[in-house]
Subunit: 456 residues, 2 copies
């Protein structure tokens, strides 16, 4: 046993004072968002109809490496940050691996995930702009919960469109949001034109994330004093989430630890992009080298089986086009897919980095993910979210590879959250009822063929 504690907590005074903007160090910048109507890059003015002005500035900022975190946001961060960097002593011992395993744990807050880091930032800028409130969509419910907490703290109205099937199957998530004063509407709803249209065409539909996005955007742009906010994919979100990586790096530097491998689960990329940010910055500047691994579900494999192209972010085709790895906005993950990581695309920043060879990606099967989750829970105590467990699975695989070769590699992975609201999926796993779904080549080819035609 070394002198490294089980949990490294930075002092509150060591909380990062600025976010790190990875784009400033990228040689090939991520492609701009395009206006789906004109095919031209979205201007700040166009974006400001949907997003808060300060957030638009952050979205478009490719040059400033550091952006100061306002005091008000830092004060909120202090209620649940710095988040611990944990040495997985018990996992190492159980695996009998010479590898040293660390995880940055983002689940010690009521939203249960890292989503709160960006939620408070987005809510703060909305409040600063004098807005009445914000709208958003939520699928599994993590983002909606985080946003409702941030809005309650700032006294901002929060309107959440929750995919109807989740609204009905996850009443507890809904009640958490209501505890924080948010209004939660099952989507599709009669609140919006797009919702009414979908309901008229498909009266029995249980909704989709793409549809909920479209409703939330319409709600924002048709109501004075409201803007739309999003919990992943966007550049601004990755910027806010850089607090994860900055803290992890500061904690490691404090103890002279240098990771060899950095692993994150990847849906829209908010956690992965935040965790790797400062490390990737060093790699881009040629100051250090790390192996980065993005882990995605085999049922929604945008990095490993998608294509790098412009696509819609929503199914309603209201949002700007983004150039990203995508399996097509018309692709809908199989119903047996549990938890988040269901987005058809991937953050443009991460997509560009992956395209340029700075990062690896792999996909993992759902039952293997839950097996890793349970293995981890029993020795490390924490019950992980299914999303986070994709990274656990890859970390265990890397640690076992070290056991084969005898290498004492240092592994860092992101434990993005807890699985307290995912027990239905755990129950299926325990009962042997969980299945895997891997899309066929034909299925993916079909949805990719529907990508919008864009002349770059």
């Amino acid at each position: 046993m070394t002198d490294i504690p089980y949990k490294i907590y930075l002092e509150e005074t060591e909380l990062p004072k600025s976010w790190y903007n990875l784009r400033a160090d990228m040689i090939n910048k991520p492609a701009p968002l395009l206006n789906p109507g004109t095919g031209k890059p979205m201007t700040a003015e166009e974006l400001s109809a949907v997003f808060c002005s300060d957030l638009v500035a952050q979205e478009l900022d490719e040059t400033n490496p550091y952006i100061e975190i306002p005091k008000e946001i830092r004060d909120f961060y202090k209620m649940y940050r710095p988040a611990p960097l944990v040495r997985a002593y018990c996992l190492e011992e159980k695996l009998q691996t010479p590898a040293k395993i660390y995880y940055k744990f983002e689940g010690n807050n009521t939203s249960g995930s890292h989503k709160l880091n960006s939620a408070i930032a987005q809510a703060y800028y909305a409040k600063k702009q004098g807005l009445k409130g914000v709208t958003t969509e939520t699928g599994a419910g993590q983002w909606g919960t985080a946003l409702s907490m941030a809005c309650a703290y700032l006294g901002l109205d929060c309107r959440v469109y929750m995919v109807k099937v989740s609204y009905e199957q996850k009443p507890f998530r809904r009640e958490v949001m209501r505890t924080y004063g948010a209004s939660v509407t099952p989507s599709p709803s009669m609140n919006t034109e797009v919702g009414r249209k979908i309901l008229a065409e498909h009266p029995g539909t249980t909704g989709s994330l793409g549809c909920a996005i479209s409703e939330a955007v319409e709600d924002a742009v048709t109501h004075e004093g409201y803007r739309y906010v999003l919990g992943s994919v966007l550049n601004q979100v990755l910027l806010h989430q850089s607090v994860i990586g900055l803290e992890a790096k500061a904690a490691m530097d404090k103890y002279g630890i240098k990771p060899d491998i950095i692993i994150g689960c990847a849906g829209g990329g908010s956690n992965l992009g935040g965790l790797i940010a400062p490390f990737m910055g060093e790699k881009l500047r040629g100051e250090a080298d790390y192996k980065f691994i993005a882990v995605e579900p085999a049922s929604c494999p945008s990095f490993t089986r998608g294509t790098f192209a412009y696509d819609f972010c929503d199914t309603g085709m209201i949002c700007p086009l983004a150039k990203m790895y995508t399996i097509g906005s018309s692709y809908i993950p199989a119903p047996n897919h549990a938890g988040g990581l269901r987005f058809h695309g991937m953050s443009p920043v991460l997509s560009q980095l992956y395209h340029d060879g700075y990062m690896e990606a792999r996909s993992v099967k759902q039952t293997d993910v839950f097996e890793a989750a349970e293995y981890f829970a029993r020795c490390e105590g924490i019950l992980p979210a299914p999303e986070s467990s994709h990274a656990i699975k890859a970390a265990i695989d890397e640690a076992l590879a070290c056991k084969e070769t005898g290498e004492e590699k240092t592994i860092l992975f992101g434990l993005t959250g807890t699985g307290y609201f995912d027990m239905v999926a755990y129950e299926k796993f325990h009962n042997g009822e969980m299945t895997n779904y891997i899309p066929t080549d034909e299925e993916l080819a079909e949805s990719i063929a529907k990508l919008p035609k864009v002349s770059e």
Copy 2:
């Protein structure tokens, strides 16, 4: 804003090395447990048929003020302790009170509460004794979850009898326990004689805590290599839970903070007894003075409306008799009562202290508790357990009293856990469907009249 951080985390090296045994400093010791058959004090040998030997020794130890925490338990504690002492800056600001409010937060672990502190200790001593496993009962599920986590870590079999109505209404708690490898049986069950008898007499019963205790005890004493463990009431449990108060006091001492008022919710007394332990020790030794407030539900008011007498701990009348404040083991809290704190009695240690005037007690109404819980969640972020929210309610009341008088009192309360598995109760509260139940004097007189006759 002072220099006191939002969260005070002790270093791992500052984790208490011994538990504090409050009984050593009590002038009037708690009355001994009695054998219900003979009416004589339970001997170590008699207790050893039900409990692990080392735990029996701790149960009976009234003289040693400090008992060393074994290294193995300290290593486990390091996975989630030291737990933070939080300065409730946002709550203070929202209340506009001159009072300074602190809470010791025990919810940052998967069991969601302080119960894990004693669960790992009890599981450790069972393992040390070479046992195969342990049995227990659980109502709301916090204790069962904590015990299953501890047993998974140590490779010990864990058999939980869960009150049938909870088993059916709280499937998620059940699945968490299964994730940790515990077997969970709805009680009453066909596993035990007492269960079969109850099912024959009352085929449609949804069970009770008292019945589940009886089943768990019978299971333990009729199976080679098993012992029964309990999450509250017992002296040993309060001993283990002293880690809460020891950490809180160490964190306060570090910053030169001295609480005026210390508040804890009280069901069986495990949290309250642990939180106040070192402070009460100072009071008993005449070194300092504090105002202690026990807060209990108006629907189950053992301190405020009970009597100080010998009573059974279970309804099956298998367990030893304990002298405590009780409203009678035949009393069953109203079905509208949400969360824990449903036990008819109170820890003998705390009962004696209350009887001797060292502590105050008050009861609070359920809807007031949930109102306080929501108020707290919206400013402090954390979604509290209904149990913990009893203490929140009293802390807010004390802070508002300071606002009236202008006194800058320092308040410390125990935030024992999170409410993630209590959203059904929160939903009732949001929908205006939550009611209060306060037993009539006649009801209490009836159950108190059924107390066993004991000649002391």
